[in-house]
């Protein structure tokens, strides 16, 4: 069974009297362990698609099955539970909690998930090391560089051992060297932790990292490419 199955997804936005069709009849599946990229120019519907997959937004039409469960049937609390336990998010602008230090930022989803303290400490310590930020664990986000912050966001996304990590333009606010480091880290974690990654980008350099690439154009899938070779 596919991890995610999207069937004929449509998403419309109403702006005044105008209806904008952001996603038009999109269908595809994501298997476990994939490192998948959604690419396309700005405004093609990448973020909207990722938001629908991540239960952040709801489609106007169509069904999204997460491990065979139609997410439209989930209550608000069940959606939160799904996001907490099964999905990790990495945002373009990092979205860390400014008043918490790095350790606490990564630990937060575990606290919400009521994971015992000793287990929390072990898991966070492992991830802090995995993303190479041991020295910065007690620092606040605003004391870190963009690349370091994104690594914190990756650690936070992975802390609950999710089945799926959604990254919306994870390298957009980073320089190319830092961006590559972040992608290499994501790929490493995909390989080692067996976590499914789906990320969006409009940067051809970034899309090279993906195993499979879904091209979006004007809200529809224009091409799906398998990218066997890694950079």
């Amino acid at each position: 069974m596919a991890l995610i199955s999207m069937n004929n997804i449509n998403k419309d936005y109403t702006l005044g009297k105008t209806t904008i069709h952001a996603i038009k009849g999109v269908s595809f599946e994501i298997d476990r362990g994939e490192f998948l990229s959604v690419v396309g120019p700005s405004g093609c519907g990448k973020t909207t698609l990722l938001n629908i997959i991540g239960c952040i937004d709801k489609p106007t039409e169509g069904t999204v099955l997460f491990e065979g469960t139609d997410i439209a049937t989930l209550s608000d609390n069940m959606e939160s539970e799904l996001r907490l336990k099964k999905i990790g998010f990495i945002f373009q602008s990092f979205n860390l909690i400014p008043v918490l230090n790095i350790f606490e930022n990564i630990e937060l989803p575990l606290i919400v998930g009521k994971v015992p303290k000793s287990e929390r400490k072990k898991r966070v310590a492992y991830l802090v090391k995995a993303v190479g930020l041991e020295e910065f664990a007690a620092h606040k986000p605003d004391e870190l560089s963009g690349g370091q912050r994104q690594r914190v966001a990756i650690a936070r996304a992975l802390v609950n051992k999710p089945d799926l990590v959604i990254a919306d333009e994870p390298t957009a606010n980073l320089d190319s060297v830092t961006g590559n480091t972040v992608l290499e880290l994501m790929e490493k974690l995909n390989r080692e932790e067996k976590v499914t990654f789906i990320f969006s980008t409009h940067n051809p350099e970034v899309m090279k990292y993906a195993h499979r690439i879904i091209h979006l154009k004007d809200g529809t899938i224009s091409e799906v490419k398998s990218n066997g070779g890694r950079p």
Partner: protein, 403 residues
């Protein structure tokens, strides 16, 4: 604990907004404590003054109300002891005593003053402010003693131990005068009272006015003032049978009781006004603070926090700010009230006209203070609840777009 920590750290991270909420809560609590103290003081003083002047119950001749002159000696009570004896035999009555009011003229070394005389027992339970306000000499102890106020003593130029003449019209109409030795000089907080009252013993008043075994009024204090109406109804027939009428303090001071009710209404209005102003400012400030962090709340929801977690965080901030503001309000409000209640605020004739003395009194009340503290927290919590509801009603996608 983590949510409380985030709430607390957010308060520190946004010091101006936090300070504004805490400051508004503090000012509201101080204002409520101050206004509450003022009304508590006024009410206490008001009842003290009223009861000092009238007692809870008064008994007088059934025709007393029809007298043509305020200090008429025409309608007296015969055999006052039968009334005081009857009253004190009732379990509800704590004290009863006879009092004579009369119009008089004081004469001293060519100066004279028209004044109101009070004939009271040397151990009277009333006029406590006169007894405690003795500044020279002592209280009435024997016949031919007279108490005068310091203002009258100043006007006449007399001192304790000196004699002055009291000229009266006796009960049968003839003029009469009697010499009295100034036993003491008093000063109360009411200039009006001091200007128009002198005191002699009840026995002297009976003799000077020629009221043998008679009095003008009987005053009585009841253990529970709420029972005065019931007591009146129960015993009215006995007094009617003895050509007497019984009145409660509400009958005597009806207009002032209405005034007290007006005070209560005004206090309620003031508190509602403070509530509305404080709630508006606090809610607005908390809303601004919450909307500034709307993206942050969106992030928290996207990583799995439920709506009630977000609501709890916003509420925690409100509670923290409310408690901080409330404690500061107590820290400033209580000393301020205690300081003002030492001396009161001099309001001159205006307050005196309301029978409260010329000084506006203040009194500390634990219940008022507690209410003000809870009010401060309540307003802050209410503002947070509103901001929390507004926030969690937003769609997750919209909150994330804000970031």
């Amino acid at each position: 604990m983590t949510f409380l920590k985030i709430a607390f750290l957010n308060m520190i991270k946004h010091p101006k907004r936090s300070f504004l909420v805490i400051f508004v809560v503090m000012v509201s609590v101080v204002a409520m404590i101050f206004i509450g103290g003022m009304f508590e003081g006024m009410r206490t003083r008001f009842y003290e003054t009223l009861l000092q002047e009238s007692g809870h119950l008064q008994v007088h001749n059934v025709a007393y109300k029809n007298r043509k002159e305020p200090e008429s000696l025409q309608h007296t009570l015969e055999d006052p002891q039968q009334f005081t004896g009857y009253l004190t035999s009732q379990v509800e009555i704590m004290h009863a005593e006879a009092i004579i009011h009369f119009g008089t003229k004081i004469l001293y070394k060519g100066k004279n003053l028209f004044i109101l005389g009070q004939g009271v027992h040397p151990d009277t339970a009333y006029y406590g402010k006169v007894r405690s306000g003795i500044v020279e000499g002592g209280f009435l102890s024997s016949n031919e003693d007279i108490l005068i106020s310091s203002r009258i003593a100043e006007l006449l130029g007399c001192s304790p131990g000196e004699y002055l003449h009291l000229a009266v019209d006796r009960s049968y109409g003839s003029p009469y005068y009697q010499d009295y030795r100034v036993k003491g000089i008093f000063k109360t907080d009411s200039r009006e009272f001091d200007d128009y009252n002198i005191f002699i013993t009840h026995a002297d008043a009976q003799e000077t006015l020629y009221l043998p075994d008679q009095t003008i009024k009987i005053r009585a204090n009841i253990s529970d003032p709420a029972l005065t109406e019931e007591f009146k109804k129960k015993h009215q027939s006995w007094f009617s049978a003895h050509h007497a009428e019984i009145e409660t303090w509400k009958d005597i001071h009806g207009s002032f009781v209405v005034l007290i009710e007006l005070f209560d209404f005004f206090m309620l209005f003031m508190n509602i006004f403070i509530l509305v102003v404080a709630a508006t400012v606090i809610t607005n400030t908390i809303l601004m603070s919450v909307f500034e962090r709307i993206g942050e709340f969106g992030t928290l929801r996207s990583i799995g926090l439920k709506k009630h977690h977000i609501f709890s965080m916003i509420l925690s901030e409100g509670v923290c700010q409310g408690i901080a503001g409330g404690i500061l309000g107590l820290a400033f409000g209580i000393p301020l009230l205690l300081w003002v209640s030492q001396t009161g605020i001099d309001m001159g004739e205006a307050a005196d006209a309301m029978k409260m003395g010329s000084t506006f009194p203040f009194a500390f009340s634990f219940s008022n203070t507690l209410a003000a503290f809870l009010f401060g927290i309540g307003v802050s919590v209410a503002g947070s609840v509103y901001a929390g509801f507004v926030n969690i009603r937003l769609k997750l996608i919209d909150t994330l777009r804000a970031s």
